[in-house]
Point group: C3
C-alpha cells in the first residue's frame, strides 16, 4: 500500500518548531505497520526528530546551528539573497530534508520524548511544503 | 511485504560504536530486494553509516562531535540535565535518528568498508531502543 | 513493487556536485506514486538535497564543510590515509549516506530549487557506487 499527500505548514519564524500535531493532522489513515516518509521541498529549511517537551531545547538548538554555521563569513560568495541565506542552505544539508518514521499499530512509533521538528533557517521563510508518503 | 521488529541495544559508553552485528542478529529473515529502515527512539543518540575497520575512526569522530558542538557554552539555557545533555540533542539532530539501507539478494547491501554506527552522546545513556522496519 | 539498480557515478573532484540528471538517467521507469531511496556505498562521500541553480551555493557549502570539520587537528589519530581522510568520514556522517525522495505522478517530486548533491570529501575519491531502490 502506498499513500501520499502534499500539504503546507503554517509560516513560522526563524528557529526550531515542534510540528508533530500539524503533521499528524495532515495525514490520511495510517496502515497498521509501515513507514511514514516526510520530505520538505525547500533548500533552506529542514526536518528532524528531537525532544518534544522543553522549549529551551529548541531555543538552544537554534543557537547551536548559528554557531556551527555562522553568518557573514569572509569566504562566502553566495551573498545576494541575504546574510541568512547561505548558512540556511548549509544547515539544511547538515540536518536533512527528509525523515522516515516507523508506523506500528496504526500510529507513528515515536519515542516518549520524540517529536517532529521543522528547522526554519530563513528569517522570512514563508510557508513550507511537505510531501508525506506512507508505505505499509 | 512489511516486517517490523523492535529491540534494545546493549548499553554503551559515550562514543561511537559499531553495531552492525548486533542489528543483524535482531532482524528477521530479509526479503531478496528491499530496504531496511532503522529508527532510534531517543533524542540524545543517533544512527549513522561509516567506516567499519579502524577503531581510531570512531574515536576521532567522537572527538570531532565534541569540537563541533562543545559543552558548557555561555548561550545554553537547557542545562538542568547535565553538561552532556544539550550538546547530545544537537549532535543527534546533526547525525540523525534514522537510516535506511538497501537489501539486495537477501542481505544488507553495505559497501565493503561500511558498518552501522550507534552514536551515544550521553555519558550514561542506558540501553537504546531501535525499531527496524523491512520493506520488500 | 520493488525495483533496484546499482550504478557508478563518474569520478568527481573534491567538492559538492549536482547529480540529479546523472541519477535520473540511471533509473528504470518509476511508479506513479512511491519513494526513491539512494544509498552511497562509501564512507567519505555523502548524498544530500540542496539548491540546484547557483554554483556559488555548492562552492560555499564545500568551504563551510571545511570550516566545520577542519583538517590536521591536534586530536586526530586516524591520519595514515591522508589529511583529507578523517574529516571526510566525519562530514559523511554529518551529511548522511542516504536520501529518500518522493515519487509523484511518475516523477521525482523535488521542489523547484532542489537537486541531488554528491558531496565528495576526498581529494581523489574515485568513482562512487550508488544503490537506488524504488518502492511504489
Amino acid at each position: 500500500m502506498v499513500n501520499q499527500v502534499e500539504f503546507n505548514l503554517r509560516q513560522k519564524r526563524r528557529g526550531v518548531h515542534l510540528i508533530t500535531d500539524e503533521v499528524i493532522q495532515a495525514l490520511p489513515e495510517l496502515p497498521l505497520t509501515g513507514i511514514l516518509h516526510l520530505f520538505i521541498k525547500h533548500t533552506s529549511a529542514a526536518l528532524s526528530i528531537n525532544e518534544n517537551a522543553d522549549p529551551s531545547v529548541r531555543e538552544d538548538m537554534n543557537r547551536i546551528f548559528d554557531h556551527v554555521v555562522p553568518e557573514n563569513q569572509y569566504y562566502f560568495t553566495h551573498t545576494l539573497e541575504g546574510d541568512d541565506d547561505m548558512p540556511a542552505h548549509a544547515k539544511a544539508t547538515f540536518v536533512g530534508s527528509n525523515i522516515t518514521i516507523p508506523i506500528s499499530r496504526g500510529r507513528l512509533n515515536l519515542g516518549t520524548w520524540q517529536g517532529i521538528y521543522l528547522c526554519e533557517f530563513r528569517n522570512y521563510g514563508g510557508s513550507r511544503r511537505i510531501v508525506a508518503t506512507i508505505m505499509g
